[in-house]
């Protein structure tokens, strides 16, 4: 890739010399380089592309009649289907990361049947499209040569196996290590953090513990020591072993932070239904292409908005709620809803090379419609964010806002104030409206039935 491509190509697409992504006129293209021509021909000619696309495992693309970004290197320009929302492994629930891992292995198995093999196994190459874990890097395949080992083995163990094992067997929150380590969890760290008993699990013993030991022992050894070859049976055995090790890892949410939220709040059924009805009515009126539900819990209101939105991203801070939401998506085969893990008080930053490889939460916006239902008190009281700053945040996040004000008299707010001084004299309906008036025009104000809560529809100024 030339400097020219570097300066105009996509900031996350520079490692692989086979090609890169670039935008032109708001459309995303992928340049395929000459050096990848034969691999590309095999992918398309062998029927592998078609089988993977049909199974929802690979992003479809069309060959585009576009000038390449760097002429001398280019073989072809393709236009991949646009992914509705790019998400990252540190924003996925356990089940989502597991689906992504199993999709990667399933792709590798199918590739081998077409005499191809994945040359990388990065979790960032997987996105959720139509509810399914889908490979978005068309250039990840190379021709398989008999005897060749899996070059992506190390990357697969770091990006998928290690975090899944840590989440299932140590603590589900350890997926946050992926935010610190962009090339996956270092295996010596995973080995040190995993419980001792995992040495009795053949898959974890070999692919993590012994693997980590071997990395340390052979660090810095030259390539010439990399003799030996691996039969096709051996390759199959390796992939199947990774697959069964991952299939046995499981994490089921026990009592979630919000699991029984709807039973213990000031909500009556009538209030809940009234709120649903308003969200349905307003989203039907706005028909947003992209809706973000912030503090979505298990996604009840995301589903209501989803009926009138192109795509909904359903964010919550609780791994159990996100997991439940994802399981529901899979069960219902919902295609336009993506549950993600997000701490609104510390949203995903931009990370990677030059801080530009993986976009921040805000960088992936603004959304057309933001739902902020029953979250204001958490941000304003638990996290001490002054109301004007809250208004600024929401104004930067979406064009339209459906926001619920929860007054101090509400039992949820009383709980938050139970063991601390009430240093929030401005936290009142009037204070809220004054603060938000600076950045928004209020289009609707409705008192929620059988509650003291108020729902607003606002448009950013």
């Amino acid at each position: 890739m030339t400097n020219q491509a570097n300066s105009r190509g996509h900031a996350a697409s520079f490692r692989d010399p086979s090609g890169f992504l670039f935008s032109r006129g708001g459309v995303l293209y992928r340049q395929v380089n000459q050096s990848y021509a034969e691999d590309y021909a095999r992918l398309m000619g062998s029927g592998l592309y078609e089988r993977l696309v049909k199974a929802g495992l690979l992003i479809p693309h069309t060959e585009a009649d576009q000038a390449p970004l760097t002429k001398e290197a280019s073989f072809r320009v393709i236009q991949p289907e646009r992914v509705p929302f790019i998400s990252y492994p540190y924003e996925w629930s356990f089940g989502q990361l597991k689906s992504a891992a199993l999709a990667t292995l399933s792709i590798q198995k199918r590739a081998l049947k077409a005499d191809m093999s994945l040359k990388d196994a990065s979790a960032y190459n997987i996105q959720f499209v139509r509810g399914k874990a889908t490979l978005i890097d068309t250039l990840s395949f190379e021709r398989y040569r008999e005897g060749q080992p899996w070059v992506a083995y190390r990357q697969f163990c770091q990006h998928f196996l290690a975090p899944l094992a840590l989440m299932a067997l140590r603590d589900v929150r350890l997926n946050q290590l992926l935010r610190a380590y962009i090339d996956g969890v270092p295996l010596d760290l995973a080995s040190a953090l995993l419980p001792r008993r995992t040495r009795l699990n053949f898959g974890l013993l070999t692919h993590i513990h012994i693997h980590a030991g071997a990395q340390k022992r052979y660090a810095g050894e030259e390539v010439k020591s990399r003799r030996g070859s691996m039969s096709r049976h051996a390759m199959t055995g390796l992939i199947e072993s990774l697959e069964s090790t991952i299939q046995k890892l499981d994490w089921t949410p026990r009592g979630t932070e919000w699991g029984n939220y709807y039973d213990i709040t000031n909500y009556s059924d009538a209030a809940f239904e009234h709120k649903k009805q308003l969200v349905a009515e307003w989203s039907a009126r706005l028909k947003p292409a992209l809706t973000w539900d912030l503090g979505a819990n298990n996604g009840a209101f995301s589903r209501v908005a989803g009926e009138h939105s192109g795509f909904v991203v359903s964010f919550d801070i609780d791994p159990a709620a996100v997991e439940q939401n994802y399981r529901q998506v899979k069960k219902d085969k919902t295609e336009n809803l993506l549950p993600l893990l997000l701490d609104l008080t510390n949203p995903s930053p931009a990370i990677g090379w030059a801080n530009r490889e993986r976009d921040s939460f805000g960088g992936r916006g603004p959304a057309d419609l933001v739902l902020a239902l029953a979250v204001v008190h958490h941000l304003a009281i638990s996290n001490n964010v002054p109301l004007p700053q809250l208004a600024d945040f929401f104004a930067d996040t979406g064009k339209w806002l459906v926001i619920e004000f929860v007054p101090k008299s509400d039992n949820q707010v009383q709980k938050l104030l139970a063991s601390r001084a009430d240093i929030f004299p401005a936290y009142s309906r009037e204070g809220f409206e004054t603060a938000f008036k600076e950045r928004f025009v209020t289009r609707e104000t409705v008192n929620i039935r059988e509650s003291e809560r108020v729902l607003y529809l606002m448009e950013v100024k």
């Binding site: 199974a55 040569r145 899996w150 070059v151 692919h207 050894e221 030996g228 691996m230 390796l238």
Partner: protein, 58 residues
Amino acid sequence: MHFAPLPYLDPGSGSFLIQLAIAALLGLGVALRASWGKIKGWFGIKSKPAEDDDESSE
């Protein structure tokens, strides 16, 4: 070296070597399974079809 050209990501010396060892062991199982299928075939017993294009569901 069995792969030419060299991969664009470093597979890591230790990862490379341990993979060969683990895979050799696991490959034995796959080879045995394959031969067992053949032996059963001689006696007219059908093996389960290899998992295939419906495995995408996960």
